[in-house]
């Protein structure tokens, strides 16, 4: 098992042509915490996720996971360094079963070669057994074991979110990025989701960075919160501090 990672964002800037999506952002995510990322639409939150996971390259600045720079890494390299994510619009392997979704994500734990797969060597059998156990354990922990045979694309929305998070967890991440996990959920479902995310943090040694617009979720589960507005850092602090921060209230509700 890996341990939770720290993430430092240092003077990060991302421009798309003339549009500045992120402007000189600096903040720190501490190992093992649940860190919230909020801000109005277009504030640059998802852009930050895409920068961390190597989908975009930063224009300037640096990103460090446990002190190791992430700049210039491809998406799959970032994943192999221990970063897992979910997507704003769920991206499951829709035509595969829940079980297959997870077993496919165990890629990182398999070191056998193409030839081992063709010949079914002892190494292949050993590693395949290990990931089958890991998948079973994870599905049971997350409460998806009974749904393992279901086609992922046919599940209800809330369950798909859970499968996506479970798929991220089997990669044994040090840093888990959740992009609007509560989007489209009602009050009851968001309550369950909050509990679920907190239970993940208790069961797995992982740092969680979460984007969401549901303030009840963010305020109830986050240890610290960073607020973005128009690509810049607006405020940082504990949920209590953020709730009383005047700049944040102004950005969300407007000034008097």
């Amino acid at each position: 098992m890996s341990c939770a990672a720290s993430l430092s964002v240092e003077h990060l800037t991302k421009q798309f042509g003339g549009v500045v999506a992120l402007n000189d952002v600096t903040f720190e995510v501490k190992p093992g915490e649940i860190h919230g990322l909020i801000g109005p639409n277009g504030a640059g939150k998802t852009t930050l996720f895409n920068l961390i996971t190597g989908i975009y390259r930063p224009t300037e600045g640096d990103l460090k996971l446990n002190g190791q720079s992430l700049v210039g890494k491809e998406s799959h390299e970032a994943a192999n360094m221990g970063i897992a994510r979910t997507f704003q619009n769920i991206r499951l392997f829709g035509e595969l079963s829940v079980y297959q979704n997870l077993i496919t994500a165990c890629q990182k734990h398999l070191s056998y070669s193409l030839l081992d797969g063709f010949l079914r060597t002892a190494k292949y059998r050993q590693q395949e057994r290990e990931i089958a156990e890991l998948t079973e354990r994870t599905l049971k922990q997350i409460g998806l074991w009974d749904l393992r045979e279901q086609m992922a694309g046919n599940l209800p929305y809330g369950q798909q979110r859970r499968v996506e998070i479970a798929r991220a967890l089997v990669t044994d991440p040090q840093l888990l990025l959740l992009d609007e996990p509560a989007a489209g959920m009602n009050e009851e479902e968001t309550g369950k989701l909050s509990e679920f995310i907190r239970s993940i943090q208790e069961q797995y040694p992982v740092t969680i960075l979460i984007i969401d617009h549901h303030m009840d979720v963010i305020m109830s589960i986050c240890d610290r919160i960073t607020v973005f507005n128009f690509g810049s850092l607006l405020a940082e602090g504990t949920p209590e501090e953020i709730q009383t921060n005047e700049a944040v209230i102004e950005a969300y509700l407007g000034s008097e």
Binding site: T53, I55, E74, S75, H76, A79, N80, A84, R85, F87, R91, L92, F93, G94, E95, L96, Q100, I103, T104, A105, Q107, K108, L110, Y112, L114, D116, G117, F118, R120, Y124, E128, R167, A168, T171
Partner: protein, 301 residues
């Protein structure tokens, strides 16, 4: 008459090997191809020329054919697999047409449109079907291992595949190389079975047939590809009565329309045909029948 049907079965086996290669690429990795007959041609002419000009033994020559086909695949893969969009399909179309044109226009080496004759006939029914069985077993194992699952992940959702640590460009390249190797091998076997080669054996219509068979069988099902191949590849032979052969393409078209309307995911969808699966289905069906029967009886009572 028997030898005639053995011949049909042998050719079916050869084309099935090529179709299985296309199945890995089109069905399992989700990369469309319109030119895999070109890779067959490269394999076929590579093998034939290695035998005739380099005087290699037949099975070493097939290896040359396979490698030549994989090299051509690696070149277009390197150029196009990183790009988003339809560039790869266009490149496969180009390689299919270019190969045929090149063969037609270098008569000093390839015999041009008149063909290449006097290739030693070294394959037969048993060799082809033994190779076919080995290929099926190996592909089945491939799909149940890390690299094969990576291919399916790329087909299903590329961004998610990246996010779980799959190098998607490499995975696509691997899939392309496997398909090229199998098409090249099928080409080599074809050369060794027929004893002669013509460029018109490898037209775009042939490429389309390969891809179409995979789609009709169900993209993402090895058994679907095999079933569809066993039916569709020997089709012109069943239809060889009078001039019915000309109706083959019409029949193909009708089949595609029927499948698209009634079962868009193909004959087997992305499911595999297994005996246990069939038994489970039958059991379910029978218990439903029985329940319906009991219900009916209850109502009458």
């Amino acid at each position: 008459m028997l030898s005639y049907w053995t011949g049909v079965a042998t050719l079916t086996g050869i084309y099935l090997i090529a179709t299985l290669g296309v199945s890995i690429l089109v069905g399992f990795t989700g990369l469309f191809s319109l030119g895999h007959a070109g890779f067959m041609a490269i394999g076929a002419y590579g093998t034939a020329l290695a035998v005739k000009m380099l005087h290699l033994p037949f099975y070493a020559a097939i290896l040359v054919g396979i490698l030549a086909s994989m090299l051509a695949g690696a070149l277009i893969g390197k150029a196009t697999l990183r790009l988003k969009g339809d560039y790869f399909v266009i490149a496969t179309l180009a390689i299919g047409e270019c190969t045929k044109l090149l063969i037609e226009n270098i008569p000093s080496i390839t015999g041009g449109a008149r063909g290449l004759a006097d290739i030693p006939r070294k394959t037969n029914f048993f060799v082809v079907w033994t190779i076919l069985v080995i290929v099926v077993v190996l592909l089945h194992r491939f799909l149940n291992a890390k690299h094969g699952r990576g291919c399916v992940a790329v087909r299903e959702e590329e961004l998610a595949a990246k996010s779980i640590g799959i190098d998607t460009t490499r995975t696509k390249m691997l899939s392309l190389l496997i398909s090229c190797a199998l098409c090249g091998m099928a080409g080599g076997l074809l050369a060794g079975y027929m004893g002669y080669l013509y460029p018109i054996m490898f037209t775009m219509a042939k490429s389309n047939e390969l891809t179409m068979t995979v789609i009709l069988g169900g993209a993402g099902s090895l058994t679907g590809t095999i079933l569809a191949g066993l039916v569709l590849i020997p089709l012109p032979e069943y239809l060889r009565i009078e001039s019915a052969e000309e109706w083959r393409m019409v029949l193909y078209g009708v089949l595609v329309v029927i499948v698209v309307v009634f079962k868009p995911s193909g004959l087997m969808g992305n499911k595999e045909f297994t005996v246990s699966g069939l038994l489970r289905r039958l059991k379910k069906w029978f218990s439903k029948e029985k329940r319906n029967g009991e219900k009916g009886a209850g109502e009458r009572g």
